[in-house]
Symmetry: C2
Subunit: 357 residues, 2 copies
């Protein structure tokens, strides 16, 4: 069976402002040590496993040009531009009917476009095992990251440690939302919980059967899209279907309710690169614990994250600060306030300074 | 007797980096709410008392063009460009022989070019009184600022509270160097100490007589300069004399040793604008205690000093920070580390990045 990948790249992440903007969100930036952008890295690490013509990018019209520019080898018809954002279930459903239309059935690897994986060969090994499980059992397989801290920023997946694994995959007991710190600590201690990575492996036929059962209205609309694919009515059908579909996540709409769900406990240097603080997790700091990019002079400064722009930055007597310089905006933020960066964007929206979003 | 002013503008202050540079030191910048630069303000506040053609600017060759540009009404021959920096005594001595050569004798008001005076009319009232005292008694008169805090950043002047004042001027007991905090507190409590403002009022003949006695080698060289003024040898004589004169301050060379020294306790909204922290003393903060210039968005930030440049600055979760943005350099500094800004410049000197000094 043909193996395909569906890479979701429609996000408009705000947490890397001012480097990420509405016009250039995180997946189109290089935030790690790589010279490639995150979406380029995501595609590159799939290539030993999936041919470029079997990789699909789900995004929206605003980013089509960026996808074409950053992934020039990708066939243009593999860029799926959603007419509007309806969360992950409609997006994945469209990917599934596209695969079914093109190949009859296909293995699908569903991935975010903006995560870091530091050990790609290990990652592909896990994927191969997941493909085997999905093939053999008609299961919905997901990858769960073995937690290294009681992080409250992730959803968790509890798995059945008693039942035998199918390949490397264990039966999922339940998906849980982001916990509070106490609960997260219990999860970590128990050894039964994994971080929800948002990566899925299944046959198109499997996920579509689940959607038909659990999201029948969505499924009916997806069938209409499928009929129109390759015809003159395709665009119109897409607009109509997406216009009618309710926004819902694949986790909430399918995974939490499905029976035949497996998870592979994984450790391949994964990071969701969820905020500026990730830069410090990913990159080694210098003697003073500063992670610095650009022309920066530090005096008595420690544990700071700095991304310089065109000018020299001098830091004097700073601790635990984030400094990000871009041509039109500068961020200076206390690390423990990184979650408040979105409030800056709220201000810009309130005063209609869209050029800064 | 003609009243003249000698404004000292040779300083290369580093404490306002990155706004002040070697090429544009503090006196040529606007650091207060005024649109005028500090030297322009200094000249403006003298004009009701001293004609522009009787105002002299002592500086060095590097800043001659800046002085001409910022003070276009000042006669060019009133710009005294020292061939090299030799501290205040040679500079003031040159000013005094220049006044003697031009006017026979003259009243001299000697002033720094980079201080703030918020009540200039009060200031001129004090100067008039100082002139009267200097005229009547052949005294060296200085202005002492009534201290409002036990500041350890200033030298202090102890005056005689028993003896009657001459006009508003009291006999000086002694000059003291910058004290430690305990000593400064005692000075403040005693009511006998004033901050040394570096402003002097005397006749040219008086200060030259004192220099002849206390700095005879300097005086002999100043006489050589005086002889050459207005001749073809002037520049050469200046080079020779400054080359031979030892660098020494007027405080150490004359004031501390002289007998007939008076001080006028003064309060006219004086600030020496000695570091970025002065910006906060001078300008009222907003609701959150931030003093902001430029396009700045603050989220949960308080007691910060911000001087924006061409771009938007977003501050998130900051306390007691100094942020100064310029086209080629950005400073982010904890307020309590403002004294370490000079260390940044040491780094630039060490790596020969003179463009940033």
């Amino acid at each position: 069976m043909k193996t395909t990948a569906l890479i979701m790249a429609g996000g408009r992440g705000e947490r890397f402002w001012p480097k990420s903007r509405k016009s250039t969100p995180k997946q189109f930036l290089s935030l790690t040590n790589s010279e490639k952008t995150m979406i380029q890295e995501t595609v590159d690490r799939m290539l030993p496993l999936v041919a470029i013509e079997d990789i699909f990018i789900a995004t929206n019209r605003d980013y089509k040009a960026l996808v074409k520019e950053q992934l020039p080898d990708l066939p243009e018809e593999n860029i799926l531009c959603e007419p509007m954002a309806k969360n992950t279930a409609p997006c994945i459903g469209w990917g599934a009917v596209t695969a079914r239309k093109r190949y009859g059935d296909a293995m699908m690897i569903v991935l975010p476009s903006d995560h870091l994986i530091q050990q790609p060969a290990l990652f592909r090994g896990v994927l191969k095992s997941a493909i085997q499980t999905a093939q053999d059992t008609d299961a919905l397989v997901t990858l769960g990251i073995s937690p290294t801290s009681p992080d409250t920023g992730y959803g968790y997946i509890q798995y059945d440690t008693e039942e035998d694994a199918v390949g490397r995959a264990f039966k999922v007991k339940r998906f849980v939302e982001k916990p509070d710190l106490e609960t997260a600590k219990k999860y970590l201690m128990s050894g039964e919980y994994l971080w929800n990575s948002g990566m899925f492996i299944w046959k198109a036929s499997t996920i579509l059967k689940e959607m038909e059962e659990k999201l029948p209205e969505h499924y009916a609309l997806l069938e209409q899209i499928e009929k129109a694919i390759g015809t003159e009515e395709e665009e119109e059908a897409l607009e109509a279907a997406f216009g009618q579909m309710k926004g819902i996540s694949i986790d909430y709409g399918v995974m939490e309710k499905a029976k035949n769900v497996y998870v592979i406990p994984s450790s391949f240097g994964w990071d969701d690169v969820g905020s500026w603080l990730a830069v410090e997790r990913i990159n080694p700091g210098n003697d003073m614990g500063n992670v610095i990019k650009g022309d920066v002079v530090t005096v008595n400064s420690t544990r700071c994250i700095v991304q310089g722009g065109n000018k020299t930055i001098a830091m004097v007597g700073l601790e635990d600060m984030i400094i990000v310089d871009t041509p039109d905006a500068l961020l200076v933020c206390a690390k423990d306030s990184a979650g408040d960066i979105k409030k800056v964007l709220e201000v810009f929206r309130a005063v209609n300074r869209t050029e800064l979003l």
